[in-house]
């Protein structure tokens, strides 16, 4: 009984943080559902995919994959490549998701761009269980996504007003989260590195293939920053908590 009582405040605290996602996922999910229905699939497909895959970009790519010839190896390789950035979210959440019990499985399952951004930066109110807060954010976000894609799959292109441009809500959210993180941190170099190296990689590579080069560049940049001179490597290892 005591436990169930604590869930409601966690959801109440989590909901405001997820409102931009409600708009963004609602719309993007809708678009995805509409695309699937235009490709000739019943709404069960977008519903199932949003439940099981829960990853925006890969699901849009999947519309093409599912209508083309069967290519299982390519599907797996694409999923790994498009979502490689999730590896970095996991590394960032190792500490925060420690000791979450069974909830942890779902927290990791639902660790998409948006959920990661909110759960990493959220100021969780006093007295709210962190695990339940993270869980509420993850679940709400997936509900928006599943609901959007199912409705899109059922109603197809019957939306009465123009929603063109509403996808900017995601861009705006990441900009705001970037600014919040900027205000919190003492050292701005990782932020700048992420922004500048990604831009450079976008200019060199195409919009569809810049993510992996950008991730490698960021990893190299951050690694070089940590160890300016190879000689200091050992001293730093011994110093311990330094990097923390």
């Amino acid at each position: 009984m005591k436990q169930t009582n604590k869930w409601l405040p966690a959801f109440k605290a989590a909901f405001p943080a997820t409102i931009p996602i409600l708009a963004g996922f609602g719309f993007l999910g809708l678009t995805f559902g509409i695309l699937m229905s235009a490709a000739g699939f019943s709404f069960w497909y977008p519903l199932l995919m949003s439940l099981l895959i829960f990853g925006g970009s890969i699901q849009f790519v999947a519309v093409g994959l599912l209508t083309a010839a069967f290519a299982p190896a390519q599907a797996l390789a694409l999923a790994l490549m498009i979502n490689a950035r999730h590896l970095f979210y996991g590394i960032s959440m190792l500490d925060r998701y420690k000791g979450m019990g069974l909830k942890k499985f779902y927290l990791i399952f639902g660790l998409c761009d948006e959920t990661f951004s909110i759960n990493y930066t959220a100021k969780i109110p006093e007295g709210i269980d962190h695990g339940k807060f993270y869980f509420a954010v993850t679940l709400l976000n997936q509900i928006y996504w599943v609901a959007g894609s199912t409705v899109g799959g059922i109603f197809g292109g019957l939306i009465p007003f123009s929603t063109e441009g509403i996808d900017f809500v995601m861009t705006a959210m990441f900009v705001v989260i970037f600014m919040e993180q900027w205000k919190k941190e003492k050292n701005h170099i990782p932020s700048l590195l992420g922004l500048v190296l990604s831009l450079i990689c976008l200019l060199i590579f195409s919009a569809d293939s810049f993510i992996i080069p950008a991730m490698i560049a960021i990893l190299l940049g951050l690694t070089l920053l940590r160890k300016p001179l190879p000689k200091e490597e050992k001293a730093e290892e011994e110093k311990g908590g330094e990097a923390k």
């Binding site: 299982p72 999730h86 311990g240």
Partner: protein, 105 residues
């Protein structure tokens, strides 16, 4: 059936990327210092990457030359510096962008 296999493989692929760090560095064992360091500095860099990722399809050299995006971004930043209310900044920038692409450009 082939459709379901493809969906299952896509789900498997994305789950590998989400679960791998937690499987490689289980909570019971001490996480290597280098990984802990990455866990601390990666998020800032990834937020930078996500901003660029969202804007990756903006065409700078064809109409509308990225102008609506630039204006809407300026609105988001200005609102956020002014009020620091996340929802206000996000909603303001989005409404501004929708008006620009639907009515102006």
């Amino acid at each position: 059936m082939q459709l379901l296999i493809t969906i299952a493989l896509l789900a498997l692929g994305i789950m590998i990327t989400r679960f791998a760090p937690f499987l490689l560095f289980p909570a019971g064992k001490p996480t290597p210092k280098y990984i802990r360091y990455l866990g601390n500095v990666l998020p800032s860099a990834m937020f930078g990457l996500l901003v660029v990722y969202c804007l990756k399809n903006v065409s700078l050299f064809a109409p509308s030359y990225g102008i609506p995006e630039l204006i809407a971004l300026a609105v988001v930043v200005a609102l956020h510096l002014w009020r620091r209310q996340m929802l206000l900044s996000i909603a303001g920038g989005t409404v501004c962008y929708m008006l620009l692409v639907q009515l102006v450009f």
